[in-house]
Every structure is written in structure tokens, then in C-alpha cells.
Symmetry: C2
Subunit: 410 residues, 2 copies
């Protein structure tokens, strides 16, 4: 008998029929003797509908009031799901975030969880209830309603699992696990039985949007056993996201190939190579709330250097306007940009103990005539920026080069 | 400068445009230097949508969970209205019932307000905020979300006005006040400038559904000055519902003619006239949750009497099934029923000091050949049950007989 926190995404509770299916699934787990806490999202489309209403009233709605409105989506689901569980013959009880209470800071629309009072939930679990807690929301010290931002229900579930010291936190979604790469690009992509938190973070930030990054960080920090599962299949173990790395000898070198086609590349040529110059460029960009991804600066020639970085493609025009000003200030020669690029990355904790991963990656790309424009590496990831048109080819080539299709599941 | 509680019904906040209009109206009151607390209902149709969702899941939803779901309607409105007030340049802040806190008993779906903590609201009002409080909802001692039942937002507003000792509680609705009778039946019906609580109670319970009965009782009990106004007109003083009666000499005899066509009549013939018999009949009906309106029992002949009462027309078949059993138990002769009836009532505190009201009423009906089937009277009301086909005629005849059209407004 275990204590399990199950999180169901918006698609999984997108209609009353689907809510009924979730209730049946919970009932099966309960029948096996487990204690269950369920964290549902809002019904799919509901949060967008509520935010659209708010924007009709005010183009930039007051964040406190926006949270009052947006948090109702999850509140509807917890009530409906509790009713559905009762229809399955279970005892069930719902709680909003403020009721639990999930204490957060006061950063409306993207609050952070500070603590969770688990007393009431434990009492209900002991009394045999399935406890249904609204994801995405909490209340600050003064009792104001807060929300955790998009995808915040994942974070709610992980935080509840940590507070309750749950045996496992299961994230039910519309995919059946984490794959070696996107199966729409590489049909031979294989579901991973397990992946480490670090790898998951790299995969998630690279565009495999299975889990919200913050929830993975949270799970890693509090050692919560996290599992991604499909809510539309009854079979399958999903993908377990683990803290422990396996024996390095058993460790595959690369766990997956991630990619992102929504980036654009900017290069400032002839930047005077003096201390503080990178900061001067990036601060101007950051002040405009533009997130920078890869940053590359190479050694200088003749006192100047070339400075490159990537931004989300939609931010390129705004970025170029800012750099036009910066260029004059720092006395740089020219600004170049390219939005026909993409990023492809090989991710794996195994590369720590295996040399030669980078060269194997570059050779595989070279053999297909794919030119590498930029390279960026971290402890467990190698990313390259290449021409957008080579994206699918590069993913398939690397998937094969690192033996991801044919290797045994781990 | 006054403290005013304004309640806006579902139609008044039925769209984002209408919410903007409410904000403009509040801004005008605020500009006159008043402190304003606003209590909006859910957007029209929203509560029905939420209850329908719940019924899709469960034909008889758990009341606690139903309240969790249903209370979200008002929560959306308070957030949207606060945003709209901010767009008008006002400081505004919303509170749910549990946040205030509006403490209720634990009778889910029809809870009663026990107390209201006014501290937070007073602090905000002093700081210049328009305070927006969700109607219809509260929380019990344990923090469970409760709702007050249909029309409960009126009660919320009156209770807030009482707790804050507000100078006036304004109920904005889609009519511009209380009329001497329904203008759709009698085009010469006239808006009343004032009406007493007692009259309003009789008018409301008789089918003039302007205000929820409980809110009127509440207002009377706590001496809250209550005013019914139109949210679609900028002019007009509406109708003031007062505690004080005017000088009896100025008092019109009758304030209005109310009617109800949704009733059915039941008569049990040959009921043995012994103590406890009425109770035996009505208890069986009450146990089936059927509300009885008028009850009439006349003197007995030869040890038996005839016992009549009216119920809502939709409850007639169920009532007859119950009486079929009761008839045998009490040894009555026969059960008769008629659902082609209606009730017409003359209401007015003036009848206390004016004799002859009943006879004037009966004469007016007789002159039109309208036969009276049942009569029931109270301190300030005379009701007759007549054939349904005479409803409009009877209303117009009585409206004229008591001089309601031509008399000066009071």
C-alpha cells in the first residue's frame, strides 16, 4: 500500500466523460489499497476562456484579480471529479489551494509555493477519502488567491507529493512517456523507461513539453519519485524520472535528441573586446523581457570579437531594434540575424563518463553535409545551431548515430 | 457621503460590456463621494451551466461538491468587475465569500449566514477602495465552501449592508422598481416609490419575483434600507422598501395586486373532524418536500369536514399519490383536485386601518361574474382562488377598484 499523488492535465479532464474515466482509473488504484491524492487541471480551454474574458475587460488585467478569475477553472474540476469519484462508490472530498492551505508568495499569476499544510489531507486519507486538490493555485499570507502560472498544476502535484512524503507522483498526460525524440520526426523514437531529472530538465527546456520545468526542479530538489503516464491508455509504466543515475557502465551515452525550431540567431560583428561588453549587450535585451537562450563569444582578433546569441523567433524584430541602439553605444561594426535556423541537442548524463560524444555527433552531421553554425555544450548536453531545413534529417541521423532506436530499453 | 452596498443581478453582469456599464455606474456613485461595496451575481446563465455540468456527472450531486463548483460563477464576476472598476480609474479589490469571511452554517446549497467579518472591508473602504464581494457564497466553521441557494446574492448584499451598517442597500435588477401589479397584465400598473417590508414579503411570495424573500426578511430584521433599481436606466429612484409605515391617513389601502398561476388546488372531502387530522394530512405532504401554500378548513357538519390546500402545479401528481394513501389512513371520503386555478391577492398595510377591503374586493369580482373558489386572508393580504381563465380580468378589475392606476404616487 502506497501513497500516490496523481496529476491529470486539462485534456484528461476535458469533458464530463473524460472526468468519469479519470474517476474509474483512480478507483482501480484505490481498489489496490493505495491512498490517492488527485490534482486535476482546469478542463481544457477553460483557463484560456477565463483569461480572454479578463482581456475583454482590461488589456492588462490586474494580476491579483486575474488570479481570482483564473483559479475558478480548477475549482470547477475538483468539484466535478469528486462527484465522479463518489459515483464510483468512493469517499471523495475536494479542496481549493487556499483551503488546503497551499501557502505561496504574493507574486500573482506566477506565485511560488512556500509551504503546504498537510494536516487536513492526512486526516481525510486516514478516514479513507480520495482527496482532490485544485492544482495551479494557492493563497498568500494575507489570504489573497494566487496562481502558479501556466503548467502550475504539475508543480502543485509535486509539491503535494513532497509535503505528504508520497511514494510516487504520477503525471497523467496525453503522451505515454518521455521519448528519445519526437516520434513525429523520427518514427523509430522509443519510449524511455527512465530518465534522470537533469536529462529531463534539458529535454524539457529544449522543447519536449511533457512536464513543466519548475515541477521537475522541485521534484529533483525534494527527491519526489516522478512518473509520466498516459491518461488515455490503461497499460504501460510510462517514464520514471529518477534521482539516481545507474551504474555508469549500464548508462547509455545519450538518452535523447531534443530540438527547437522557434529560435532566431543574432550576431554582432566587431564588438570591442573589453570587460563588461557582454553584460552591456545582454542587459539591454533582458530589460525588454526577452529571454536569451544560447550565448556564444569566441576569442578576439585585433581587439574586436563577434558576439552571438539566440532568442525566440517572435522576439527577433524587437531584439534587432534594441541592438540597433546598442550597436552605436558599444561602437560595434554590424548586426546580422537569421531566423531560418533550428537547434538540435543530444542529451545524456552518460556523456560525463564517455569521451568523444561531441566528435561522434559532429561527424554524423558532417557525413550528411549539414553545416554547423554554432555550438554550445553543457555537462550533459551538446547543442548545435543548424539551417532549419536540416532539422528532421539531423534528428534522425543523430538518433541513429547514438543507437537510440535499436538499443534495449533501460 | 454615505456607505452604500450595491447588488447587481446576473442579467446586469451578463457580458463584459454590461460589466463595464456596471463599473461606470459605480464610478458615478463613487465620484459623489460615497463608499461603495458591490455584490455581483454570476454572469447570467453561468450558474445553470455549472449545475448542468455537475448533473452530467451525477444526477444527484454531493451538495458540498456542488457548492465548490457553483460558487465559481460569482468568483469570476468579482474579478472581472474589479478589473473594470480599475479601468475606470478606481481602486478596487475583490473578495470571495470565504475570504471576507462570510460565516454560514453547513447546510450546503442553501446555507444561512451566521456572521460577517467586516474588518477587512472597512480597512479597504477607508483606504479608498471600491470593495467587490462575491454574492451567494460563504464558508462554514470548518472552511468548507457553501452557497446560499438561488437568489442568495440578494441576501449576501443585505447581510453585508447590515454588518457594515450601510446607509442603503441598492438592488439593481432588470426592472426599475416594484409595481402595483405586473405591467404585462395591467398596462396601467404604476411603479411604487415605496413599499413596506411586510407588503414586499407578501408581494414577493405571491410571485412578484423582484427580490428574494429571505433577503427582504433579513433587511426587515436588521432595519436595512433597501432599494430596488434598474441597472439599465440611469434615471429613477426605484422603489424604497421601508420599515416605517407612513401616517395611516396618507396610507393607500392597497399597495398592489399580486397573482400566481402556478398553483393547483386539492380538496379532501369527508375528513373526520378530530384533533390532529390536519397535521396527519400535511405531514405526509411535507415529508415529500412539497410546499403547501394556502390551507383552508371550514367548520364541520355531522362530524366530518372538507380540507383544502394549494400546491405548486408541478407537484400535483405527486401530492395526489400521497393523498391516496392518506385518504385510507384517515378514513376520508374522496380527494378532488383542480389545476386550472390561479391565485389573485390584494396586498396593503392600509387594510389594517380600513374596514371593508374584503367586501370591496369580492364585489368587484362579482360584478364581472368571477366566482371565488377559496378565500384566505392575513393581516395585510386578501387572496382568492379563482378559475385560471379569469386571471388577467381579475387583476385589472382589482387594480382599478383600489384606485392603483390613477392615485398619486406615494
Amino acid at each position: 500500500m502506497a501513497l500516490i499523488v496523481q496529476k491529470y492535465g486539462g485534456t484528461s479532464v476535458g469533458s464530463t466523460d473524460r472526468i468519469r474515466n479519470v474517476a474509474k482509473r483512480v478507483a482501480r488504484w484505490k481498489a489496490q489499497g493505495h491512498d490517492i491524492v488527485v490534482v486535476p487541471s482546469a478542463m481544457s480551454g477553460e483557463t484560456n476562456r477565463l483569461i480572454a474574458l479578463a482581456k475583454e475587460i482590461s488589456p492588462q488585467p490586474d494580476p491579483r484579480e486575474l488570479d481570482v478569475v483564473a483559479s475558478t477553472g480548477e475549482q470547477v474540476t475538483i468539484g466535478l471529479l469528486s462527484m465522479a469519484l463518489q459515483e464510483e462508490g468512493l469517499k471523495a472530498k475536494s479542496y481549493t489551494g487556499p483551503q488546503v492551505r497551499v501557502l505561496t508568495d504574493s507574486t500573482f499569476t506566477k506565485a511560488r509555493i512556500l509551504s503546504i499544510d498537510d494536516e487536513r489531507l492526512r486526516r481525510d486519507l486516514q478516514a479513507g477519502y480520495v482527496v482532490v486538490v485544485a492544482g495551479f493555485q494557492g493563497a498568500d499570507e494575507a489570504g489573497n488567491i494566487t496562481t502558479l502560472g501556466r503548467g502550475g498544476s504539475d508543480t502543485s502535484a509535486v509539491a503535494l507529493a513532497a509535503a505528504l512524503k508520497a511514494d510516487e507522483c504520477q503525471i497523467y498526460t496525453d503522451v505515454d512517456g518521455v521519448y528519445t525524440t519526437d516520434p513525429r520526426v523520427e518514427p523509430e523514437a522509443r519510449k524511455l523507461n527512465s530518465i534522470t531529472f537533469e536529462e529531463m530538465l534539458e529535454m524539457a527546456s529544449l522543447g519536449s513539453k511533457v512536464l513543466q520545468i519548475r515541477s521537475v526542479e522541485f521534484a529533483g530538489k525534494y527527491k519526489v519519485k516522478l512518473r509520466v503516464l498516459s491518461s488515455f491508455q490503461d497499460e504501460g509504466e510510462g517514464t520514471l524520472i529518477t534521482v539516481e543515475e545507474k551504474n555508469p557502465m549500464e548508462q547509455p551515452i545519450i538518452s535523447g535528441i531534443a530540438f527547437n525550431r522557434d529560435e532566431a540567431k543574432v550576431t554582432i560583428l566587431g564588438v570591442p573586446d573589453r570587460p563588461g561588453i557582454a553584460c552591456q549587450i545582454l542587459e539591454a535585451v533582458a530589460e525588454a523581457n526577452i529571454d536569451v537562450d544560447i550565448i556564444i563569444q569566441n576569442i578576439s582578433h585585433d581587439g574586436t570579437t563577434d558576439f552571438s546569441f539566440t532568442v525566440a523567433r517572435v522576439e527577433l524584430p524587437k531584439t534587432l531594434r534594441i541592438l540597433d541602439t546598442v550597436k552605436g553605444q558599444i561602437n560595434a561594426r554590424e548586426v546580422l540575424s537569421d531566423n531560418k535556423i533550428c537547434k538540435v541537442s543530444a542529451v545524456g548524463v552518460g556523456m560525463r563518463s564517455h569521451p568523444g560524444v561531441a566528435s561522434r555527433m559532429f561527424r554524423a552531421l558532417a557525413e550528411e553535409g549539414i553545416n554547423i553554425q554554432m555550438i554550445s555544450t553543457s555537462e550533459i548536453k551538446i547543442s548545435v545551431i543548424i539551417d532549419e531545413k536540416y532539422l528532421e534529417l539531423a534528428v534522425r541521423v543523430l538518433h541513429k548515430a547514438f543507437g537510440l532506436s535499436e538499443s534495449a530499453e533501460r
